[in-house]
């Protein structure tokens, strides 16, 4: 092994990563609070009223970031799951485990805020539109992953089985992303497309990006805090965890 890879694998040990995760969590939490404050201020006092959707469009400032995060977190989870399967590292599976509840929350919020946007704009709370249905499946994938993982008594076997579920479910992500192009659906097309000029007012766009980065920082903060809890739960029989718990009293 080269010295470089030794350095990397050092952080794949839960005991080394535990304090690092704590620091990342604290820094991200501060960034999240600041960005959320700025983002909320911009959402209500800076971004102008939409000429078509009035004040109701402001829902997108939580809807779009939540939807993006729900998809992004899933991809990151599947990535950790793949690394865990290939290298058989405990920490990778713990990362996937720590990400799941936050991803599920964002999937739920995406559906909830979408519903609250759909009622006044489309006249319905729910419709079996391609994108909305695929997002619902994403929520079920998160819940299914968590249920499957916790239903297997041996944590390492649970990691492997649930990793495969995660990897199979990745197929759903491009379906959500491209659904508005593939099918003629009720859900409107993407306002922000990669490599294209946005069809959105600049202040609205900046507000949405600030909220996205805020949710991003939030997700990192919560996930890093949760991975510490997961490490404690799963390594509770080890000496270092016991010494840590005793020392904290």
């Amino acid at each position: 092994m080269s010295p470089r890879s030794v350095h990397w694998f050092k952080f794949s040990s839960p005991s080394t990563f535990y304090p690092v995760a704590g620091k990342i969590s604290t820094v991200s939490a501060v960034i999240a609070v600041v960005l959320i404050a700025v983002g909320l201020y911009m959402s209500f006092f800076v971004a102008p009223t939409d000429y078509k959707q009035g004040e109701g469009y402001r829902i997108i400032f939580v809807h779009v970031p939540a939807s993006w995060m729900s998809m992004f977190i899933y991809v990151v989870m599947a990535g950790w799951a793949a690394i865990g399967l290939v290298f058989n590292t405990r920490l990778s599976a713990m990362m996937a485990q720590a990400l799941a509840p936050t991803g599920a929350m964002f999937a739920f919020l995406s559906l909830w805020t979408g519903s609250f946007w759909g009622k006044p704009m489309w006249g319905t709370w729910w419709v079996w539109d391609a994108r909305i249905t695929a997002e619902l499946i994403l929520l079920f994938l998160y819940l299914g992953y968590m249920a499957l993982r916790s239903s297997i008594d041996d944590p390492r076997r649970g990691d492997r089985a649930s990793a495969i579920l995660l990897l199979v479910g990745v197929v759903n992500i491009p379906i959500i992303y491209y659904s508005v192009q593939w099918w003629n659906t009720l859900h409107q097309g993407a306002t922000i497309k990669m490599g294209e000029q946005s069809s959105m007012d600049e202040t609205m766009l900046i507000t949405m990006l600030v909220m996205t980065f805020a949710f991003w920082a939030y997700a990192i903060a919560v996930t890093m805090a949760r991975v510490r809890t997961v490490i404690l739960e799963r390594e509770r029989t080890t000496t270092w965890v016991r010494e840590l718990a005793m020392g904290e009293r």
Partner: protein
């Protein structure tokens, strides 16, 4: 002020979205803190009782 909360007739929908998002994003860290404290206490208790058994 009332006008602000009215949101041009979209009050229910805008606050229903931002409100539930806020509730979730405040509740999640709090629940996590509770879970974290619980596991720390449990580990410390077990470690202490085992230490006691050895002596």
């Amino acid at each position: 002020m009332a006008e602000f909360f009215h949101m041009g007739g979209y009050g229910l929908y805008v606050w229903g979205s931002f409100g539930v998002t806020a509730i979730c994003m405040i509740a999640e860290p709090l629940l996590l803190r509770g879970r974290s404290r619980g596991i720390r206490k449990r580990i410390a208790r077990i470690a202490r009782s085992e230490q006691g058994a050895h002596q």
